[in-house]
């Protein structure tokens, strides 16, 4: 028998089939389908990669919310990154996710083609090492992501501080998750019957973070893992709550997520970042939903330490991304989808990132 790696066992075909069967039994004959929203790009990808929608009955609809941090990053951030990488003796380090994202007139990939030093790294600590190895150059790390990733970026700043580096900087654009879920739940046009809450963001912030959604908006919330059995079990738990008229927080991903979350990671966030009112592309400004670098660590803040002139912001008109990020419209409803808006030439936020709602639909579901 294969050794337990806690991955393959949660991709068990028979379990998935059994869960799908139960979901079908529970929802058979419903007139109005149950609509569940996931708010995490990794869930978007997992659902598409395993073809899970094709296993669910028509009575259950899975839609994507604003769970792609790259997609909700304003154009202006990319424009600043592009301006930075045109400076001499400066290395831009980034997760692979950011490389193809178009700003107002260029992308990091294009800048690299024109000679800028842009490097993909797997960990922000790799960026710190690049700074150590290149004392004559400034190294800027593009800090994008939700609460799973922000502590790793905080960790890189603390490591740089401990090493006494003066050439490591972060251009931060982190966002925090629960606020947009509240905004969406308050929207009378959107009828979401339950949330599949993100697995690893919840490992950091804790399942208690979603209680307000149940108390204020009476929406069921199930913190769900990313493997196929996890997603199907999460859906099954949401179905049972919805049918019973309940609205509570449940943890499906109990092997990792705790009610109180990860206190150490939370304190690292509080130490290195300060909450502020962030602009979510397609949605607008949400109070307290962003993380900027705290004053004590201003020396590592690329926006303050390396002033550049940034080009005028140009948004692309005519796209439905705002509605798609709020789950109101599907990619297939957008007139630009697959025609003028494709992964090679994306018009809007939802197509730019490889795990954006439209990019995933384009790649897996046409």
């Amino acid at each position: 028998m294969k050794p337990m790696n806690y991955l393959d066992q949660f991709r068990d075909k028979e379990l998935v089939a059994g869960l799908a069967r139960r979901i079908r039994e529970l929802t058979a004959g419903r007139e109005k389908p149950l609509t569940f929203m996931e708010v995490c790009g990794t869930h978007t990808m997992a659902i598409y990669q395993f073809g899970l929608r094709t296993l669910l009955p028509p009575e259950v609809r899975l839609i994507s919310g604003p769970g792609c941090p790259v997609c909700v990053t304003p154009n202006g951030y990319l424009d600043r990154a592009v301006a930075l990488c045109r400076l001499p003796d400066l290395i831009i380090t980034s997760f692979g996710d950011m490389l193809r994202v178009p700003g107002s007139s260029s992308s990091l990939m294009e800048e690299r083609a024109k000679g800028a030093d842009v490097r993909v790294v797997y960990s922000p600590l790799d960026a710190v090492q690049i700074a150590v190895k290149n004392p004559g150059k400034r190294v800027v790390f593009l800090g994008v992501g939700f609460e799973t990733t922000a502590p790793t970026v905080a960790g890189s700043i603390l490591t740089a501080a401990a090493l006494g580096l003066d050439n490591y900087f972060v251009l931060a654009s982190h966002k925090t998750m629960p606020q947009p879920m509240g905004i969406l739940s308050a929207d009378p046009e959107l009828a979401v019957d339950g949330y599949l809450c993100p697995a690893h963001v919840s490992a950091i912030i804790g399942a208690n973070a979603y209680r307000f959604l149940c108390e204020e908006y009476r929406v069921p919330c199930v913190v769900t893992g990313f493997e196929p059995t996890d997603v199907m079990q999460g859906v099954e738990m949401l179905v049972r709550q919805a049918l019973a008229g309940e609205s509570k927080v449940e943890i499906q991903y109990s092997r990792v997520v705790r009610w109180e979350g990860n206190a150490k990671a939370q304190s690292m966030l509080a130490q290195v970042f300060t909450p502020f009112d962030a602009d979510w592309r397609g949605i607008g400004i949400l109070p307290g939903s962003g993380l900027k670098i705290a004053e004590a660590y201003a020396a590592y803040d690329a926006e303050l330490a390396i002033p550049v002139s940034v080009e005028e912001l140009k948004e692309h008109p005519g796209c439905l991304c705002g509605e798609i990020l709020k789950g109101k419209v599907s990619p297939f409803d957008c007139p630009l989808f697959g025609r003028t808006c494709t992964p090679e030439s994306p018009v809007g936020a939802c197509m730019v990132s490889s795990e954006g709602t439209c990019a995933a639909a384009y790649k897996y579901a046409r």
Binding site: G51, E344, S353, K363, R366
Partner: protein, 337 residues
């Protein structure tokens, strides 16, 4: 978006590469490229002799990686392009572009690998050229190899030969080469133990020729991976290919690296693998032939051609769902999201 410059994605074998070929290179250079560009080699007839002619350039970084180096890649890659047309590879030319400052000892190692690969494949390097460019103008070494082979049978094996009902067979594990190269690259620091599968496939192809009219398509899934190659053939043959994820042979180490970096093994390059499209009544025989050969021990049937269409690839996932498989725009990048 600046459409006036060449991007790395134009070299990745995906959509951008095809666009460059279709929009600029073929119209400007030669319409004959249209067919030669779709298949692995051009088929020519000179005084009654049928020849296959191909060329390939090698720019891989790093130049030394677990399981091989740019040299044996350059030999095996061109040998394989000829073999995929069902030709017997005979002669290679080699062009080197060397960067000033490149170590002679490294060049010597690469040359020795090339000799060894050529001997194994039964081909001879008969002509070549060496140029040196100033430091900074070339990435240590670039290699171009061109090759000639003969077709000694009357079979027509090319990308348009896929027929509904055909079985798709791969001769072994996928994604090894790309992951071996990626693991060795600076900045990712992953110890995967995966070695490149770089190998000459002409011997295996010769064995498969006994299938005669039952062998419809042969292609090696190099850059862009199995997914890209299958999509290309699906379009050329006008069919839908349905893959079975559970049948895909993938090394656990490749799966591990893909999990960590958020990559899909279907899009990762291979250098010692071929995809064979075989008539259903000959599929079992084809599999047996492969299993008997050292380069085919892990061969498996991974899919079938299900219907005529404008060219689609779909996959039944390991948990029983169905999803589409598209061509990527450019290179696949690691992701954290």
């Amino acid at each position: 978006m600046d459409n006036d410059i060449i991007l790395l994605g134009h070299g990745s074998g995906g959509k951008l590469s095809h666009q460059l070929l279709d929009d600029l290179i073929i119209p400007k250079l030669s319409q004959s490229l249209a067919s030669g560009g779709q298949n692995d080699a051009a088929l020519l007839e000179i005084s009654g002799t049928k020849l296959a002619f191909t060329t390939d350039s090698y720019v891989v970084d790093p130049i030394f990686f677990p399981g091989g180096n740019i040299g044996d890649l350059a030999v095996n890659g061109t040998v394989n392009d000829l073999a995929m047309m069902g030709a017997r590879p005979l002669y290679l030319s080699v062009g080197f572009i060397l960067e000033e400052g490149f170590k002679k000892s490294e060049l010597a190692l690469i040359l020795a690998s090339m000799r060894s690969a050529a001997d194994s494949a039964g081909v001879t390097v008969v002509t070549g050229d060496t140029k040196v460019v100033p430091k900074g103008k070339g990435d240590r070494i670039f290699i171009n190899t061109s090759g000639i082979g003969v077709l000694e049978h009357g079979l027509r094996i090319d990308g348009a030969g896929g027929r509904v009902g055909d079985q798709v067979i791969v001769n072994g594990s996928i994604g090894d080469h790309g992951i071996a190269v990626l693991s060795a690259r600076e900045g990712l620091e992953i110890d995967s133990g995966i070695r490149s599968d770089s190998a000459a496939l002409n011997g295996l192809v010769e064995e498969l020729l006994v299938l005669g009219e039952g062998l419809h398509v042969l292609r090696d899934p190099t850059r862009g991976g199995v997914a890209t190659t299958l999509k290309e053939i699906a379009i050329q043959s006008g069919v839908t290919i349905l893959l079975d994820e559970e049948s895909l042979p993938i090394n656990p180490g490749v799966k591990g690296v893909c999990s960590i970096l958020g990559l899909d093994a279907l899009y990762v390059a291979n250098e010692g693998k071929l995809l064979a499209f075989v008539a259903p009544e000959r599929a079992a025989e084809a599999l047996a032939i492969m299993h008997r050969h050292p380069l085919g021990k892990d061969a498996a049937i991974i899919g079938a051609l299900t219907e005529s269409s404008e060219g689609r690839v779909q996959m039944k996932t390991s948990v029983g769902g169905v999803r589409g498989v598209e061509m990527l725009a450019g290179e696949q990048l690691p992701r954290i999201c």
